[in-house]
């Protein structure tokens, strides 16, 4: 059994694929921070930020709409900001009754909400592009080089490695349950909701126990190869003039966005 469900890397030979991973991570983080710093309703700056994303898409050779198509996954999370519609003081636009409460949407609240949705939508697109053009281990290397604490990079690294193994484990459990979920002729398959919930609970428990035992075996494998509590890795990456140039141009682009947003 094999699961590639979480691999988002798209292999290609574009100029963006060949950029140093550190530069790609720095540009992505800078872009997300730049978006967060843009004032509400900075429409031209938002448009410039989107243009930036589109240009990056184009150079990645994955298609100009690559990140756009995948970005809607973030919308449900942006809805977490829905309360700003009613909580920011301003001119009332509309109001409605929900159960015993009366909600009033204000113009300032709407402006803040739309701005938050656009900011998060643009930021998510850049993050999607980063994982599509950079192999995940290289992102971890970049984080290590950028002095992210070793414990964090180690957790991400092990999580990435074993997410696939765990998914396979879950699939095996589900298949085993499915294979034995028969029914006698004329009978409905399965028991009560309570019984089903109990079985699901047992499966979650099994998964935890198996993972716990596996973690023990992995730790033993690490110990037997000399692990003493500090993870050492080696991943040579070399900056080229082109990397610096693209980094500088990107930062310049973000400064222009910030300037335009404050006009």
């Amino acid at each position: 059994m094999h699961s590639d469900a979480f691999d988002r890397y798209h292999h290609a030979h574009s100029s963006i694929h060949h950029l140093d991973p550190r530069i790609k991570v720095v540009i992505t983080i800078a872009f997300i921070i730049s978006n967060a710093l843009l004032p509400d309703g900075a429409w031209i700056a938002f448009a410039l930020a989107w243009l930036f994303v589109l240009v990056a898409n184009m150079f990645s050779e994955l298609g100009i709409g690559f990140t756009f198509r995948r970005s809607f996954i973030a919308f449900p999370f942006a809805l977490a900001a829905i309360t700003v519609l009613f909580s920011i003081p301003g001119k009332p636009i509309s109001s409605f009754q929900f159960l015993m409460w009366n909600f009033t949407i204000t113009d300032a609240g709407l402006l803040r909400f739309v701005s938050i949705v656009i900011r998060s939508w643009l930021s998510v697109q850049m993050a999607i592009l980063l994982v599509a053009v950079t192999e995940f281990p290289k992102i971890i290397h970049a984080l290590t080089h950028l002095r992210v604490p070793a414990i964090i990079t180690m957790i991400i690294s092990l999580l990435y490695r074993y997410l696939f193994v765990l998914t396979d484990e879950v699939m095996r459990l589900l298949r085993a349950r499915q294979a034995r979920s028969g029914a006698s002729p004329g009978q409905r398959s399965g028991g009560s909701v309570q019984w089903r919930a109990r079985i699901a609970g047992h499966m979650a428990g099994q998964l935890f126990l198996r993972s716990y035992e596996r973690s023990d075996r992995i730790y033993n494998a690490m110990l037997s190869r000399g692990y003493k509590g500090e993870l050492m890795t080696i991943h040579p990456h070399h900056f080229h003039a082109r990397d610096w140039l693209i980094c500088a141009l990107s930062i310049l682009g973000m400064l222009i966005m910030q300037f335009t947003g404050r006009l």
Binding site: R217, R225, G226, M232, I234
Partner: protein, 242 residues
Amino acid sequence: MEIMECVGDIIKVSDLYFAYPDEHVALRGVSFNLCEGDKVALVGPNGAGKSTLMLQLNGILEGRGGIEIGGMRLTRGNLPVIRAMVGLVFQNPDDQLFSPTVFEDVAFGPLHMGLPETDVLARVDSALESVRMSSYHDRLSHHLSVGEKKRIAIATVLSMNPSILILDEPSAGLDPRARRTLINLLRELPITMLVSTHDMRMVQELFPRTIVMDDGRIVADGMTQEILEDETFLNEHGLEKP
């Protein structure tokens, strides 16, 4: 059965006892020697104590008794040196390959031995060459087949230039072709080897000497051919004649 005599022991285990925290006794006075260049099979039914014994030889588990590796008594002080000498390959390659890429996994051991970067790179290349997986350098571990994972798992310890290779069930779960590749690889590796297995055909083909364990004890240590001929003895200890 006659215990084989051996001079210049690379592994010397004497009267080793071990019980797990739940008081299950896994080893009950195990003693044996291994000479440099020996290729020895360790067989026995499930729960005989084979895996526990292997973990003792690398200092992962600590029992009561004596273990000497290359003339050095196994103590906490010399654990790092002993772990570099004893290459332990676990049964499930997914436990052994814990890094995202093949390169990082093979480089893990040499890096933790404190070798300079150029030496680490050379050792990774040489270890991957030994298992004929040089082109897998940058591959992601979760993209490999079980057979490929097993060979990379062996490379992860070969890169430490160990004096002894200890493998737990190397042929388990492999299809015939992958099994054959592995057997050929083990035959060609010029290194002392202790291999725990249920694959009696592989034992017959590859290992001149066999140690049989049952219920935490060594019940036979001798020439493979002699042991495999005694069908009654094999059946008594949950084994089958190949």
